[in-house]
């Protein structure tokens, strides 16, 4: 984590620009600029700012945001915290839920029309920028279709009294779902495409293994082979890709939240970058790094669950 903090600090301070100029506005004179710089400690030499920052981060203090007039960075992060994980969870559920059956189906029907369709779909999904997908969905389903809301997000656990038109918990859940559909498709398209591709190729690989051929020779039905022998063994590479997709999904969340006006971490990062708010950029970056590390950890644990040959116990090997 020290590495992340250091690299982020160096990069942020290497880019041209001056957050104080943005803060104080166009009519500020030199004295006002200097006063603001001193107020936020930006008048200190870089190494002093670095040492101070590392020491503060070690105690959980990520500093204060210039853009938000001195509000603690951690406060801003915690304000936005539930939103992005909800969006990520929703989009991954959609992506995994559709990609795995699609991949298996394509593998089972290798080289026929269904397979080609699945491959072309996933190729388009991988190649299409998420903001474009988002705008297209908004235009089709919100602007012309008027079927789904074009922006905002309602949390499923929100108080019904605070949600417009909601009388019960069920109404809140329906409203939350309607708000989640378009951003989840937008964010999940890339994941779905990548997972479909790996699911298909991984299944094909397993289906060509000797033990599967042997099972076929014994007359085991294709359905049983898929369900009992091939599926589980094919999931390890898929899990790896899902882990990798988490990193791209965090990036995708930034664009998706902007397009759909969702106030999560992605939107916060965009705000921080636009305002060149050093502390906020560093705080959100470190937060994303922590989320990424935790995500990788979860994938590692799941490896062991899926494949009993993988053990993190440190015991003697065979």
């Amino acid at each position: 984590m020290l590495f992340v903090v250091t690299v982020t600090f160096v990069l942020i301070n290497s880019i041209p620009g001056d957050p104080v100029r943005i803060l104080v506005g166009p009519s500020a004179d030199a004295a006002a600029i200097e006063a603001a710089r001193a107020r936020y400690g930006l008048d200190q030499p870089l190494y002093i700012r670095y040492v101070r920052y590392v020491a503060a981060v070690a105690t959980g203090d990520f500093g204060t945001s210039i853009h938000y007039g001195g509000v603690a960075v951690t406060v801003k992060i915690f304000e936005r915290l539930p939103v992005t994980p909800l969006l990520l969870a929703s989009s991954f559920t959609l992506a995994i839920g559709s990609a795995i059956p699609l991949g298996i189906f394509a593998a089972k029907n290798r080289n026929n029309g269904y397979d080609h369709l699945a491959r072309i779909t996933s190729l388009i999904g991988v190649s299409t920028p998420s903001f474009w997908v988002g705008l297209l969905l908004i235009i089709v389903f919100a602007y012309y279709g008027d079927l789904l809301p074009p922006s905002g997000l309602v949390m499923p656990w929100a108080d019904p009294a605070s949600v417009e038109g909601a009388a019960s918990r069920l109404d809140v859940l329906a409203t939350a779902a309607s708000h989640l559909i378009l951003p989840s498709i937008t964010l999940g398209t890339l994941q779905m495409a990548a997972i479909t591709r790996i699911e298909r190729s991984s299944m094909l690989e397993v289906l060509n293994k000797d033990y599967v051929q042997l099972a076929r020779a014994y007359g085991v039905s294709e359905r049983t082979i898929l369900r009992k022998q091939a599926f589980r063994n094919a999931q390890l590479p898929v899990l790896t890709v899902i882990g990798i997709q988490m990193t791209t999904a965090l990036g995708g969340a930034v664009l998706t939240e902007t397009v759909f006006n969702i106030n999560g971490m992605g939107n916060l990062i965009i705000t921080a970058v636009r305002a060149q708010d050093y502390q906020l950029i560093m705080g959100t970056t470190i937060f994303f790094a922590i989320v990424f590390v935790l995500g990788v950890l979860v994938v590692d644990v799941l490896y062991a669950v899926i494949d009993p040959r993988i053990s993190y116990g440190g015991g003697a090997g065979e």
Binding site: G17, I22, G25, P149
Partner: protein, 528 residues
């Protein structure tokens, strides 16, 4: 210069004159039926507000909200004329234009029930100087400001300042409340004396205001409240208007203009903004310090075509450093100025570049802010320079980098920059900040040297004789245009997409005045 980015001006008022000459109806609430409807108007903002304390300066998105909450000492009428709001009449000017005495109404109240006092007014103007907030640059002309009676405030200036009446459009805050907790005042409990009370703000989500039924003005708003929702992506914002999630959206970009116009039950309300977007040359260093090079660049491309392609219909071509309304109000020679830009003539451009001895390997550095439209203007210039036989590059910089580099005067940072200025509707604000030598490195990076022009700008700033000022500005601007210090480019329109359910919506040229929900000439209502 940050387009639409800063302003401490503009507010709702019910006590304006008729918009024609500063006449006031302030002083005395009349018995008016409480509000016309129970509907709340939903407004989609283009940017997120972040704080609402006028003392620490309001950016444009902040002002859109805060100007409904706070009253001002003076405000604007239907045009760009300054009219009284909390003041009872226009100020009395004494002591060779350096003393302004203002009487305020005696019945105005803040939302917490406290009276608006002369001391609150003095505090509102004194504190930005004492706290060295970003307003310091504008307010530093005030030497002292004090309450000299219960309803009388006296401003003593360190020198005559012709646009001081526009500075007096600042919002008035309650001293006691703000001093109690400045942070809470800015974000949780902004208390003003405007027609709407602040209710709640969830950052990046919404701001809600409600009609203040005890408003001291002549009339109450016809809407029960206002909800502002920031929707930064313009396609999403326009879609929200189409679906009826919002009643009004701010800022229609050029590419969506036709879409909004053709949307059922929706129209665009627009008016030319008080702004000016321009191409500026580094006259301090590098080839552009030579007038022939600036002239050559003007020959190398067509600004008319660039504006037609990238700005129209969301903006319009501009031929001088003053926006349309001010050109008209100040009787400036627009026809004459329109003759100054060169028609595209690449051969003439090449000849001038050669005559000026520009080295064949010159690579013009054009810097632009993070704005597609201004980047496109920069690219048009770069293409023109390339056609004339030289290299040119456009660098799109973030705001912080742009502001750090655009005013250095170093040719290594820029030869040309594309920026804009949006603020007070007063020639001094444009001309002094963008051309005077005292603004070098602060608000301008042209470093143009011409003693006569500088004296004219300074003279116009210190005089309150309008005819004299007109002559001085006319002469200075004509010289600046002839000398190609700037190539005036375009001006935006303040544009709002409005549902047909909204009545009496009018757009004001001073951006933060909008959305005008209640004034002496309009009172917005929503029929749902």
């Amino acid at each position: 210069m940050l387009a639409g980015c800063t302003s401490d001006s503009g507010s709702e008022t019910t006590s304006e004159g008729d918009g024609g000459g500063g006449e006031t109806t302030a002083g005395g609430a009349t018995e008016t039926a409480a509000g016309g409807s129970d509907a709340t108007i939903n407004i989609g903002q283009a940017l997120n507000p972040v704080r609402f304390d006028p003392i620490t300066q309001l950016s444009n998105p902040d002002a859109l909200v805060a100007n409904r909450v706070f009253s001002q000492l003076y405000t604007y009428g239907e045009g760009t004329d300054v009219v009284p709001n909390l003041a009872t009449s226009m100020p009395t000017i004494e002591r060779d234009n350096t003393r302004y005495i203002v009487e305020i109404v005696d019945n105005a109240m803040f939302h917490n029930g406290d009276p608006v006092t002369a001391e609150d007014v003095a505090y509102s103007f004194r504190t930005p100087i004492e706290e060295e907030t970003p307003l310091l640059g504008i307010f530093s002309v005030i030497d002292t400001v004090e309450a000299i009676g219960e309803t009388t405030v006296q401003f003593d200036l360190s020198n005559p300042y012709a646009m001081f009446q526009h500075v007096l459009t600042h919002q008035v805050v309650p001293e006691a409340v703000r001093e109690e907790d400045k942070e809470a005042f800015s974000t949780q409990r902004p208390i003003g004396s405007g027609p709407f009370k602040f209710v709640e703000w969830e950052e990046s989500n919404y701001v809600t205001l409600e009609r203040w039924d005890d408003y001291w003005g002549d009339e109450l708003p016809d809407v029960a409240g206002v909800e502002f929702t920031p929707i930064t992506e313009s396609t999403t914002r326009v879609t929200n208007l189409r679906t009826g999630d919002v009643d009004v959206v701010e800022t229609i970009p050029p590419r969506l203009w036709e879409t909004v116009e053709s949307t059922e039950d929706t129209s665009i309300s627009e008016i030319e903004s008080v702004g000016y977007f321009y191409v500026a040359f580094n006259c301090n260093e590098g080839p552009t310090a030579d007038k022939r090079v600036r002239e050559a660049i003007d020959y190398s491309f067509s600004m008319d075509d660039a504006v037609d392609r990238y700005i129209d219909p969301a903006g319009l071509r501009q031929y001088g450093p003053l926006p349309g309304q001010m050109v008209e109000e100040w009787d400036m020679p627009l026809e004459e100025w329109m003759e100054i830009p060169n028609d595209k003539d690449v051969e003439q451009a090449t000849a001038l570049f050669e005559e000026a001895g520009v080295p064949a390997d010159w690579d013009a550095k054009i810097i632009v802010p993070p704005d597609d439209n201004r980047e496109n203007i920069g690219l048009s210039i770069a293409n023109g320079i390339k056609e004339a036989g030289y290299e040119a590059h456009v660098e799109r910089l973030d705001w912080g980098a742009m502001l750090s580099r655009a005013y250095t005067g170093n040719a290594s940072d820029y030869n040309i920059y594309v920026l804009g200025w949006v603020r007070y509707p007063e020639p001094d604000d444009f001309i002094y900040n963008l051309f005077h030598e005292d603004s070098e490195g602060v608000n301008q990076g042209v470093y143009y040297k011409n003693d006569e022009v500088m004296e004219q700008i300074q003279g116009a700033r210190e005089s309150t004789d309008r005819d004299e000022r007109q002559q001085l500005y006319q002469s200075a601007i004509s010289t600046l245009l002839e000398e190609k210090v700037h190539l005036p480019a375009f001006n935006y329109k303040n544009s709002y997409g409005v549902k047909s359910t909204v009545s009496d919506f009018q757009v004001h040229p001073v951006s933060p005045q909008n959305p005008r929900l209640l004034t002496g000439y309009n009172n917005v209502s929503v029929d749902r």
